[in-house]
Symmetry: C4
Subunit: 246 residues, 4 copies
């Protein structure tokens, strides 16, 4: 590899990371705009798959103090590559998801109240209507509780592992979010923006699902033909919602 | 018909469509102002009855990117007459209602959360008080679920058809909205503005109705004399609410 | 009475009505500021006790179109004294309360959702805590349903009459609000501003009361010693809340 | 002590009180920013431990009329040291907490609706998830009801005493808030700002806890290993959340 081509690659990486810092910063602010966070209770990351570098919110910094420049860059093993601040305390959870699922380009964690209530209740959010089916191809699962050992050592990594375990062999992008029991939701997407979008969806459908059950405690899950219709209307080869095929 | 009179008609139609584009655009923005939509989950249309042309929101475009000019004009068979964007994916539902009910001048679809919860629950919103009775002369019905066949082919058209089926012979303007089971509400009015107004009413009374049942699970529907009084105080020949007879 | 003293009285009345128009207009806007109204679903009035003239919101006019000048002045029999617009359709209810209770200086009617849910449920809002006790010396009662005859003729007047009947011999200012069954709350105060204040209180305590019952269905009313303490801390001869004795 | 050193101490105290007035004023405004108060239903105080002087909100003054200058300074016995206005009617409750717990630097009282509903229900808010565990090391307790005698004489002081009684020998800073039965929450912290922070947390977890129970009535408290993990991740010698060890 010539010196020039190395310089070109470094320059290209620098440009991509700069753009990703901006995206991740904006996506973190979007959590506030969508009323998903109280104080600093949420974080967004994004990954540059070519280099394997992740940009993530620093830990415990107020949203008003965030900027593209104070986002933290870590590698897939969690080593800080750029940045003076500690990365989010949930970084190890994000990294485990990035390592296991190459489709994922952005991850969000919040304590949005309605989704968190389902996580605290230890219940999956059932697919009860088309609002849900437009984004999640089935229930939003609730991961099992961590064991005391999993909590005691490498807690955040193990949180990632129970998410991975819950997803199992299913299509990670077809149900782009999960509840961690007694904790709160994680969502993901092809990029940080879409991960935030899915975090909003989880919060909205969480609230609707509780109200639905309060109106009709014996309601059953959405007809699978309708689930298929709405999910596939927006996703997959024959999608026809919006202006372009996805 | 003289050339001049044709030119005059074309000019008059152009003026009416321009005004309708503006109305429909504003009515779409009103969905956001009234907190009825998340992202792009809602759409408003309006019809020019003289020409049979419908103006409707484009599919999947963010509210901040909407303008009078990018509204889509379609005919009653769904052919695009003006516009470069795809019309709302729910267009066929709107068209079926316009075809069947000449009284309807504007239609709204949202996934407003409280009304959507009733739709997901598969329950009509009962008329429990005067807030409801001021606008809806009886319960806000919930249409039956579509069959798998109705979902598989012409889903959006069939959604319109089950709404029409549910309305049956009753006065479509006396209960200007309906819930589509496992989906969400549709409302209508003499124009797009009134259709939005009714979408707000459905959301508000949906929330009130659930709270009412939580306070008193055995509550019964509003006294029919009071329903009559309030509905007719605002509607019909002897209306006396507001500044002018309607 | 000399010509001069008559002129002086007319001038004083004119000044008082001008001030009252301003107060009533502002109090109507306060309903919006406190999120108590959707569209035009609320009204405030105030009375000039010296002349027996009432200033009230016009019927069905949007809040953004209200101004001091388009408030309507009526006498205690409902005759329009000043104004080109129809007064609120609920005027006869307000007038009945002003006629029966000389202590009342301002009246508010809203369809605020949480209070309306209790009215629709036909249940008094129980006094469950000090928030309630700071303003209402006991439950916020729910009036009985009107008979079909009372609805058919002079409905709004009869609404006032069932409120008066429910208050009975109790101190009208010690529980400055009531729920009208299947309808919504009315509140009052020594002036329009205080009546709005009490409308906010009713809405807040209505929501708290439902949540309280959801947490503990067998909760009982506040200890009467605590009710006394809080009510009398803010009201009556030995009040010590705030900056001045009331 | 030389005249000069006395002058220096007076000057230092004056500077500290000026800073504390500013903090307490801002913390009171933060109650509004975080939607914890309706009207004047809340108050914040802070203490200068060196002098034993407390700065507290004046009673019944609207938030828009507050400023650093009209905060009231009282000593630990409640004597007004600076200020023309009456201090909060709840001052005696604050003072009792400052006297008993030297760790407390700021106190907040609100009637925030969701926390107040738990207080009215007479139930502790159970620790159901990590949102709670990040701040409260166990349930948010509900103090016992005051006796009629405790209400009749020195009510506000006795309110402080039942809070102290409920805390007992436990670590006052490990569960920095409590519910007063049939009344509302009190929270505290090392300074007024942290006390407000904890007031927000109580309101948020109160709402989440009710929703959690509505989803799953038989939910049990958070696994104690997870409670430990989250509380100690943010607090104590080995905290690693945020940018600095606490």
């Amino acid at each position: 590899m010539s010196e020039q081509s190395i310089l070109n690659e470094v320059s290209a990486l620098s440009d991509r990371l700069k753009a990703l810092r901006h995206q991740v910063w904006q996506a973190n602010l979007d959590l506030e705009r969508h009323n998903l966070v109280t104080f600093t209770w949420g974080n967004v990351s994004g990954i540059d798959r070519e280099s394997g570098l992740i940009v993530i919110k620093p830990s415990g910094v107020e949203y008003s103090d965030l900027c593209a420049e104070n986002m933290v860059v870590v590698d897939l093993q969690g080593q800080i590559v750029e940045g003076d601040l500690n990365p989010s305390s949930d970084t190890a959870t994000h990294l485990e998801l990035y390592r296991q699922f190459p489709e994922i380009g952005g991850i969000v964690h919040t304590h949005s109240p309605q989704a968190t209530a389902w996580a605290q209740a230890g219940k999956a959010i059932p697919a009860l209507g088309t609002t849900h089916a437009d984004y999640f191809y089935g229930p939003i699962e609730c991961a099992r509780a961590l064991s005391d050992e999993e909590i005691a050592t490498d807690y955040e990594l193990n949180t990632g592992k129970v998410i991975v375990e819950t997803i199992g062999d299913s299509d990670v992008m077809a149900s782009p979010g999960i509840l961690v029991k007694e904790h709160a939701p994680f969502t993901w997407g092809k990029d940080p923006h879409q991960a935030v979008h899915n975090a909003v969806v989880v919060e909205v459908v969480a609230g609707m699902a509780l109200q639905t059950l309060q109106i009709n405690a014996s309601v059953s899950a959405i007809n699978s033909a309708l689930l298929d219709k709405h999910y596939l209307r927006k996703h997959g080869a024959n999608a026809y919602y919006g202006q372009t095929k996805k």
